[in-house]
Amino acid sequence: MSETIPSLLLKNGRLIDAAQALDGKFDIFLVDGKVSKIGIGLEVAADRTLDLEGLWVLPGAIDLHVHLREPGYEYKETILSGAQAAVAGGFTSIACMANTMPINDNAAVTRFILEQARAAPAKVLPIAAITRAMQGEVLVEMGDLVAAGAVAFSDDGKTVPDSKLLRHALEYASLFGKPLLCHCQDNALFADGVIHEGMIAAQHGLAGIPALAEEIDIARTIMLAEYLKVPVHICHLSTRGGIALVRQGKARGVRVTAEATPHHLFLSEEAVVDLACGETLDEDLKPAMLCYNTNSKMSPPLRTAADVAALRQALADGTIDAIATDHAPHEATEKAVEYDLAPFGVVGLETALALALRLVREGVLTPLQLVARMSQTPAAILGLNDRGSLATGMAADLTIVDPECEWVVDPEKFYSKARNTPFTGWRLQGRVVRTIVDGRVVFSL
């Protein structure tokens, strides 16, 4: 990073910055990878000037929850391909989960990830496992991992079933001010479930995953955080009951935060038998198999329409703090199998922001709330003081969006190595046209 970064003047864009409560036409001057000045009609000598008339300028989006698959599963995704997908989707920072092979449960793996990330266009933030090999038995060396660059701890994909161990993990992590990102799931109730335990499961004989499987563990996790007076973050809320638990926890003063994924905000269990889920899909891109399409399979599963509505409400009222993608790339042949044998998970980096813009269009979120949920709060949850806002002195991480641009989701055009999106053929409005990281344009449409 020794070479100098040309200064950049962004003119006439609509700056939307929740942290500064700004929403209006401002010029932004970026120097040395930082925000130097914000103002109206800035007259400065810049190496380069971009006229952003008609475009939105947002603090770079931050994804708390992605799976980059490297090391170990490079055929699904690499740190480089995942980061390319991220900037194409407007994400300037992505936090990657620990379930690689080997698992990121020691400083060597964390350092490897950061080393690989040097060539990546987005900022990659390694999340370390909570327990060794994610076996739920022994804590990782948290101090060593934090020193190596881990930003948080998570056994994502698994819960930590032993409550005493989870207690100690919460306590010990608080020493470093690093959050635990908890995947909440009662394993016995989850059992061999593949979709939400509801009408579709009942009618189609698919093994169900009750909402309860998630809620019982959310309750336990919040109770521990409350008792210990430490922060905790709940991954991918999907049920009304889970929302209520977080809402009540917050009301009691528990330092609990929560995220929701775009797929849980847009799709219900109906997608298992009709992936289009009421959407008019592009005829040329429409998947051949809409019923039992394995891109409707994720954990937690798609819930009911009432849960989708509740998630949107909770996102609007702040019960849900962040939109996170749970970007989970899988290779095509891994998903082209029997429904119950298919791996859980879908990709999300390249569709999340456009879907969030649709929430704005549908009146669920204001533009400022969108920025709060996708940049400001994720930065706060991870304790990243240099981003999440475009105030003077912050990192020059920006996402520039054309709110009117119409496009169709075509996985063949993804930067991600994976194609497993449930949104193939969706017509979306609002698209990332430029992504800037540390003052450099890393993506241009």
Binding site: G198, H204, G205, L206, M289, A336, L341
Partner: protein, 309 residues
């Protein structure tokens, strides 16, 4: 009128017209079983592959006899002899089959949607002979064919289905087919084997106790209880299950006097059904088996005996 599908994957999306066409054709095929020469040349030169990933003697044999009576070449492939054990994916297996140019593939698989996956992948017609706990359409249709010999199929008829509803594809296919014809279906199972939400299906009544389900019904369908469910803590013991849910003379007396008793087999005598009931005048369990061949002939004929564009 008519049946113009490439595949028969379930009864869920069949119209009443399609169901009646299948039953009427099957009715005609019943006659062939009574001929001295039980073979017609309708599917001569066609290849029917029975692709069974789950062990099944009854259904596979029934399809095999049906195919042979239609003069088709029937080939049986079972999971134990196929390359599945070597880790080949389902679609790879199907691609290999496709190279042998089958006209109809009859598939049974433990995964819900396996037949749909295959049907979407190849040009041959696919008959679902059971996909997990989802559907087993030919069983439901042969059950309707059996009922129709004794009762008029339509509104006013009441059918009780008793047993492990949650894990039963036979129950689901019957629920769809029966309710499509306007028939009332009462389902009854231990709460551990009753999926939540069935009561929302139009025409379905959920009963807590078999006595309630049997009261005044025209048809009683008992489902096989699988011992492995006991290992998964869904019921305490077969003895307990038999005592509460088993069909015996006393319980059967609650149904209409002319009620018929059905069972998709294989039966656990003394568990879900007592021997005296299974062997009684009211039991039509063996007609189900013979109707199975006629019904499957009709299905193979209607799928295979038409030109696809």
């Amino acid at each position: 009128m008519g049946f113009r599908r490439k595949d028969l994957l379930g009864t869920r999306d069949l119209s009443a017209d399609e169901i009646r066409t299948l039953l009427e054709s099957a009715e005609s095929f019943k006659e062939i079983a009574e001929r001295p020469l039980k073979k017609v040349p309708a599917l001569r030169g066609k290849t029917v592959v029975n692709l069974f990933f789950e062990p099944s003697t009854r259904t596979r044999t029934s399809f095999e006899i049906a195919a042979k009576r239609l003069s088709a070449d029937a080939v049986n492939i079972s999971a134990s002899t196929s390359s599945v054990v070597k880790g080949e994916s389902l679609l790879d297996t199907v691609d290999n089959l496709q190279a042998m140019a089958p006209d109809i593939i009859v598939v049974r698989h433990k995964s819900v949607g396996a037949a749909h996956l295959i049907a979407g992948h190849i040009g041959a017609s696919v008959v679902n002979a059971g996909d997990g706990a989802n559907e087993h359409p030919t069983q439901a249709l042969l059950d309707l064919l059996t009922i129709s010999a004794h009762k008029k199929l339509g509104p006013g008829l009441r059918v009780a289905i008793i047993g492990d509803i949650a894990h039963s594809r036979v129950a689901r296919s019957n629920i769809w087919a029966l309710t499509t014809l306007g028939i009332t279906v009462r389902v009854c199972a231990p709460p551990t084997m009753l999926p939540r939400g069935l009561e929302n299906i139009k025409g379905v009544e959920v009963c807590r106790r078999p006595e309630e389900a049997l009261d005044g019904v025209d048809v009683v369908m008992m489902l096989r209880i699988q011992l492995e469910r006991q290992d998964r803590l869904l019921f305490p013991s077969l003895r307990d299950y038999a005592a509460i849910f088993g069909l015996n003379r006393r319980r059967l007396a609650l149904a209409r006097p002319d009620a018929i008793v059905m069972h998709p087999g294989p039966m656990n005598r003394g568990v879900e059904i007592t021997s005296d009931v299974a062997d009684s005048e009211q039991a039509v369990i063996l007609s189900q088996v013979s109707n199975g061949v006629a019904l499957r002939m009709a299905v193979l004929f209607l799928l295979g005996g038409q030109g696809h564009e």
